[in-house]
C-alpha cells in the first residue's frame, strides 16, 4: 500500500492498514485519528464498513493531516518493527512529487485538471493545469472521474535493499463525503434568511 492509496480506499480498513503498512507520521496520525473517533461522529453512506462513524470528520482529518505533514519516505511496518530473520528485506518508497488535483473536464482519452503542488522540488507551491490520460486512473477509481472530483497525483520511487529502484505514477481519487439531508435543509434555511435580508435597491 502506498501513501496515496491510504488517503482513500485504505482509510476504511484500519485493521488492514495497521497490519500492512506504516506511512511514517502521517499514517500514525491517521490510524490514531480513526481510533479516536467517537461513535457519535455518525457516518452517512459512503460505503464504509464502519457504518456508524463519520466519513466527513475522518476524511477532513486525513486531508488536513496530509496537507500539513510532508513525509517523503514510506516503509512497511515489518521493516520498522519486529522483522523475523528470514523475512524479506524492506522496500523503501520515496515520494518524488505529489499534487492535489481537481478535475475540470473529462474527455474520451484524457481528462484536464487543475493541480496544486504539495511535495517535490519545483512542485511544492505550484499551480498547474494537467492533461492526464484516462488510462492512468485505476479501474476501481474510474467511476469517480468527473468534473469537480478531487485526486492525488503521485510519483514515487521504490527502492529494494539490493539497490534496484523503479518509479511509478499513480492517480488516486478521493472519495468525498456525501451531502446529508439535514445539512442541505440547513443550507436551504440559511439561503432563505440571507435572501430575505439582502438590501436590494
Amino acid at each position: 500500500m502506498n501513501l496515496a492509496r491510504a488517503t482513500t480506499t485504505g482509510i476504511f480498513d484500519p485493521t488492514a492498514t495497521a497490519r500492512d503498512v506504516t506511512l511514517g507520521r502521517q499514517a500514525h496520525e491517521y490510524v490514531g485519528a480513526f481510533h479516536r473517533l467517537r461513535p457519535t461522529d455518525a457516518l452517512v453512506g459512503s460505503g464504509s464498513p464502519q457504518g456508524s462513524m463519520s466519513s466527513v470528520s475522518l476524511m477532513e482529518y486525513v486531508q488536513n493531516a496530509l496537507d500539513a505533514v510532508a513525509v517523503p519516505t514510506i516503509r512497511t511496518r515489518q521493516a520498522s518493527t519486529s522483522r523475523r530473520a528470514d523475512a524479506p528485506a524492506p522496500v523503501a518508497h520515496q515520494a518524488l512529487a505529489e499534487w492535489q488535483g481537481m478535475v475540470t473536464e473529462v474527455g474520451e482519452t484524457h481528462f484536464v485538471a487543475e493541480l496544486q503542488g504539495k511535495i517535490g522540488q519545483g512542485v511544492s507551491g505550484s499551480m498547474e493545469e494537467a492533461r492526464i490520460p484516462v488510462d492512468e486512473v485505476s479501474p476501481e477509481d474510474r467511476g469517480l472521474l468527473r468534473p469537480g472530483a478531487f485526486f492525488r497525483l503521485c510519483i514515487t520511487r521504490e527502492m529494494t535493499p539490493h539497490g534496484s529502484s523503479r518509479r511509478y505514477t499513480q492517480v488516486v481519487f478521493r472519495r468525498m463525503p456525501a451531502y446529508r439531508r439535514e445539512d442541505l435543509e440547513a443550507a436551504r434555511a440559511e439561503a432563505r434568511e440571507l435572501v430575505r435580508e439582502l438590501r436590494v435597491e
Binding site: 452517512v44 475540470t104 505514477t169 468525498m176 451531502y179 440571507l194 438590501r199
Partner: protein, 383 residues
C-alpha cells in the same frame, strides 16, 4: 514576469476617462475612471504570480495611483459568477466600503443562493471551493447591509451628474443584459445542478457551464462611449445572447463605442457582427483578456478578425512555456505517463486607455507587459 506596481505612473486627470483592463490568462478585471476620482470596477482577479500579495488587482492598482478604494469606488459589478470573473471579489467589496454592488438579479435569487450554500455545506477543505468566493460576497453584503443593484437589460446601474465631474458631462452605466429569458434559463440550469442527499460533495459545476446571465455594460461619459461585453455569446434564440442585447430599449440611446472590452475572450462565438456594425465606432480600441485554460482563447483567427476592425490589445501572454526546475526523474515519469503540465501562475498584464472628455480626442494607450498590442491594425493613438 509581471510589471512592477510601482511603475503604474500618475493618476488620470479629473477630466479624463480611463479604462484599465487586467487579464492574467485566467480572469479579468476592468476599472473605469468616470472623472474627478469616481471609479467603477467590473469583475475581479488576482495576480496569481505574486504569492506574497493576494489582494485583488483593482485594489492594488487604485492604491498604487494614490486613490482610496473605500471612498472613490462608486460601483462594483460582477458580470457573472464564473471563477475567472470573481477571484478576490469578496476582498474587493470589503475594501470598497461605499460602493454599491451590481450583479444579475439571478445571483441573489433563492435558487442560486441555496445552491452556493449547499456546495459549501460539506465543510471540507475542498468541497465548494469554486463557489466560496461568491458565497463570501453574498455573506458580506448581508452582514454590512450594502446596496445591491439588479442588472437586467436596459437598467441604469449608476449615474453621476455632470456637476460632480470636472469635465461637466453626465456619466451613466447601463446594463444591457441579461434578458428575461437568460435569467430564467440560468435558474433552470442551477436547478439541474442542485446537490441531493447522498450525492458526493463537489467543488463546482463543470467548466462547460454556460455563460448564462452575463452582464454587458454600456458606459457613457459625455462623448466617450465604452462597451464592456463580459462573456456575452451568440445564440440562435432571439431572446438570448447578443440578439437579446440588440433588442433592448436602451440600445436606442447607446452611442458608438470607441473602446470595447471584447466579449468572451475574443472568441468567434462572442462576436456579433450586427452589434459591431451598428454600435461600435470606426477603428475602435479593443482589449481582449486571454483564457489560457484547456480551450485557449483568443485563437489566431480571432486576432485576425479583431485586428481588421481596430487596434487590438491582449492583456496577457498566449501559449505559455512549460515550467522547468522539476526533478529530472519527475519529468521522465510525467513524460512516460503521457501527462502534460502547464503553469497556471501566469504573470498579469495591464492595458490602460485614457482620453479627455468632450475634446473629441484620441485614446492614449499604456501597455504593461506581458500585455501587448496584437499585430495588424492602424498606428497606435489613432481613434
Amino acid at each position: 514576469m509581471s510589471f512592477a506596481w510601482s511603475s503604474v505612473g500618475h493618476p488620470p486627470a479629473d477630466d479624463e476617462v480611463e479604462v484599465t483592463v487586467f487579464g492574467p490568462g485566467f480572469g479579468e478585471c476592468v476599472l473605469v475612471h468616470l472623472g474627478s476620482a469616481h471609479w467603477i470596477i467590473v469583475d475581479s482577479c488576482i495576480d496569481a504570480s505574486d504569492t506574497q500579495d493576494r489582494r485583488p488587482v483593482a485594489e492594488r492598482y487604485l492604491r498604487a495611483l494614490g486613490f482610496d478604494p473605500a471612498a472613490d469606488v462608486k460601483l462594483i459589478v460582477a458580470t457573472h459568477w464564473h471563477d475567472d470573473h470573481v477571484r478576490g471579489m469578496a476582498r474587493l467589496v470589503a475594501a470598497c466600503a461605499s460602493a454599491a454592488f451590481g450583479c444579475s438579479g439571478a445571483l441573489v435569487k433563492q435558487e442560486f443562493v441555496e445552491y452556493v450554500k449547499m456546495l459549501e455545506t460539506a465543510r471540507t477543505t475542498t468541497a465548494g471551493a469554486k463557489v466560496r468566493e461568491i458565497g463570501r460576497v453574498l455573506d458580506l453584503l448581508h452582514s454590512t447591509g450594502r446596496t445591491i443593484k439588479y442588472a437586467i437589460g436596459s437598467r441604469p446601474l449608476c449615474g453621476l451628474d455632470g456637476a460632480r465631474l470636472a469635465h461637466g458631462h453626465r456619466a451613466t452605466i447601463t446594463a444591457l443584459s441579461p434578458s428575461d429569458r437568460e435569467f430564467t434559463l440560468f435558474l433552470e440550469h442551477i436547478a439541474t445542478m442542485m446537490p441531493a442527499h447522498g450525492q458526493p460533495a463537489m467543488a463546482a459545476p463543470p467548466r462547460q457551464s454556460p455563460n448564462l446571465a452575463s452582464v454587458v455594460l454600456a458606459v457613457s461619459v459625455g462623448d466617450v462611449n465604452l462597451c464592456l461585453a463580459a462573456d456575452m455569446e451568440l445564440h440562435s434564440d432571439q431572446l438570448r445572447g447578443w440578439n437579446a442585447v440588440l433588442s433592448e430599449a436602451a440600445m436606442s440611446s447607446v452611442g458608438p463605442a470607441s473602446m470595447v472590452k471584447v466579449a468572451h475572450h475574443g472568441s468567434h462565438n462572442g462576436h456579433h457582427v450586427p452589434y459591431w456594425n451598428t454600435y461600435v465606432a470606426p477603428q475602435p480600441h479593443c482589449v481582449v483578456t486571454p483564457f489560457n485554460r484547456s480551450s485557449k482563447l483568443p485563437r489566431d483567427t480571432d486576432i485576425d478578425r479583431l485586428t481588421a476592425l481596430g487596434t487590438l490589445y491582449i492583456t496577457g501572454p498566449r501559449n505559455l512555456p512549460k515550467p522547468v526546475a522539476r526533478d529530472g526523474a519527475v519529468e521522465r515519469s510525467l513524460w512516460e505517463s503521457g501527462i502534460v503540465l502547464r503553469d497556471l501562475q501566469e504573470p498579469i498584464g495591464m492595458v490602460r486607455l485614457r482620453r479627455a472628455v468632450g475634446a473629441g480626442g484620441n485614446w492614449q494607450a499604456d501597455i504593461f507587459p506581458p500585455a501587448h498590442r496584437a499585430r495588424g491594425g492602424p498606428p497606435m493613438g489613432i481613434a
